[in-house]
Amino acid sequence: MKYWLQRLGMMIALLIAVSMLTFGAMSFLGDPLFNILGPIAGDTENPENVAKVQAAKEQYYLDKPVPERYVRWAGDFITGDFGVQFSTDGQPPVSDLVKERLPRTIQLTVMAQILALGIAIPWGVLSASRANSLTDRASTMTAFGFVSLPQFALGIILLYVFGIKLDLLPDTYNATDPFWGFTHGHRLIQLILPAFTLALPAASTYQRLLRTDLITTLQEDFVLMARAKGMSRRKVLFGHALRPSMFSVLTVFGITAGALIGGALIVETIFRIPGVGLAIVEAILREDFPVVLALVMIVTTAFLVLNVLVDLLYSVLDPRVRR
């Protein structure tokens, strides 16, 4: 219990640190006024414009010192008020953007993780149970290749092969299409290439870890012991060896969650999926403070929460770490 409280405290501390970092970077390096007002923000001559600039500063507290602004922002943020989008006409609330974009990225990443685990676990078990066989070596090499293939390159290759040359799968994403369904006109199908682009490297990483750990586990005394008790190979493999071999995969699963957002950024760019990844890049380029902050916080929180979940899962999987 105490551990989890500590964990929570740590998470909050991290979130505060990350938000301060982002807030500070944006405040000192960027100028939000241009986004709100456009070029007149730089006008020091025309008194009307100067007044407008002043008004905007007051409206968004930009005349206040950075720490005060930070505290204001944090206060709003905690109450669920993410502020407004500076760089969008009419300054609509950031939450609109989040509501629209987040589900797409979640769909993409969840699909990718499911694919990744779905591919990696059988693949890893197959490889490990035939360690050093031809199958295993081929798998190892394949996995190595995928791990080394940058996401953007993989995306392009998949796009080229399946989207363009073979023309099997849709190469575009259409945010207005319905999700469920099995034709080119459904986002489920449109997400296949992007999801695979995300999933294959992750699956390969998992596979490599699982294989190594499983091979190690299979040489452990307790596996031999299970065999010596007369349990069948299959039962030993899945009943005894698999679970204690999942820890690395689990850890990396948490870490990948962070990598996945980077990946999502690339994949959303390649396949033009208007999700959070694209939104972050756009917002950074437009120096749109509130959007960047909100999205960074969402992504970071998701990452941290996922890691706490991973930790929880750990203690489910491994009684030795139960607290």
Binding site: G38, G42, S87, P93, T172, R272, E287
Partner: protein, 594 residues
Amino acid sequence: GGGSDDESSSDAGDTSTETTADSGDGDMDDSDADSDGDMAADDMDDADDMDDADMDDADMDDADTDDMAEEESDAIVTEIEDDSDLDPVFGGTLRFGLEADVDGLNPLTSALSAPGLTMGAAVFDTWAIWDENDRWAPYLAESFTPSDDFRSWTMKIRPGIEFHDGTPLNAEAVRINFETVIADPLVGLAVAPFYPSVEDGALEIIDDLTVVFNLLDSDTTFPGSLAGALGMVASPTWVAAALEDPTLNQQPVGTGPFAYDSRSADSVTRFVRNENYWNGDVYLDAIEFVPVTDPDIRASLLLEGDLNGLATTNVASISTTAEDDSIQNLLDDSTEESFTMLNSATAPFDDIRARQALTFATPRDNYNTLIGLGVNRPADQMFTADSAYYNPDVVQEADMPERSGELVESYCADFPDNCADGKINMELQWSGPSVVQTRIAELLNEGWKEFFNVEFQELPQDSHIQETAFGLYNAVTWRQFGAVDPSKDNVWLLCRTVGGISLNWPKYCDEERDALLLEAQAMDADDPARVAKYQELSQMINEDYLYIFFNHTLWSQSFGPEVRNVCARTTPEGVVGRCQVNGRTFFHTAFLAE
């Protein structure tokens, strides 16, 4: 040309001004295309007065007609079906692919980019329109009557028209629209220079359906400035509400053939038929605008039938659709030009030697081959060879680096601080990230690098426009000059738009040129002497070396075979409107054939 809308197409931008040819636009860029920040300038049509026309004759340099000129004379082939004999079909939703989405759809407070204008044209009608012969014709207005000196124009409003929200169209609506625009810190920049202040009676209301516009200068084609974004009439109720709650900018209310239905940023904006349309039947049930930033994808969606139409300036994609016989292409390159623009207010390009040296060293042929893919017509001036105002003697100099050396040497002798290693230091700025823009920069640098130390600066679009407006640049790639009537391009050229924020981007003020511009504006559009004025203008621009013209932007509106009757918009008086203006077309009469 009146203020044209220069919408830039895709790339960066939106804003008008932004330049670039976007021929091959990379996708990336497009994605932010609309970011907003548009400078006001964008499309603003402004009204000008007319002045007396004084015809100066243009000096005619004789330029040899070279290959280029020959090519220029090739007319652009438009392959749109003639539908006059077809019976219209009611119903259906037309899906139209745009190169980007826009932040807001309020024509009074945002400088709309081409996609914004395309969407706006479906919701908002304008007071006037351009006709097939590039002359203005009243549309929402019943009539325009100029004073003798063409400095005030009396506009009569057609009675009985209502906005989608039921607000009547009347003089009050004119006032609110006009005052909102002129008060807008950005959009107003392009309007205000041509009127006295509001207090001094820029607009007089005569009665509920009659108003008078008072101008600073004579302008024989003033109503033309009410045919673009500045003529889009928004419901005063909505305008007022949107000032309070800017999120309403996403839900436009006009008098147009379509009314706002729903909008989700970056995915789809849907308008439905205005059942009460004042000017004839609207056949489509609805029209959906879908931003698809990648031009290749946009084209393929059209070919696969997922879209019914699209707009593009991407040459590769135009070629693709041109190859497919079933696709109708509405092509037009009479509007903007792509060029490199130099800042005359700061070193090194405050010195004409530096400007000339850069111009001569520019690899313009390569630009037209590689970026224009040989499809865009090379430009020597702001007019295409088909234009009445075309000056065949004006030739854009380039590709003669041998002439640069001496100039650079002499410049550097005078200003050693601005040079290093015997080359002039300069910075080339563009809006990005954009693959095409980067390619353009690298390509230009290939020619320039022998004489110039070129620093590259790629800026996000907002900052790019910002710095350009404040004159914080040496050279930028740009796109502009798209007015249907050349007088509407004055906003980019007059001394009065030089200032803290300059719409006269190069900050170049030439009283003589101003006089010429105002004289031409004051002349009747049919006056043959006006041609000479503009030919002289081209000559002057050419000799100032501020713009290095590359080519004429080619716009294509492409439609699937089922889309009919797109070019049939007519005024109640029977004047047929110009089918495509700066990359936007009109869906008033369109229908989907079975």
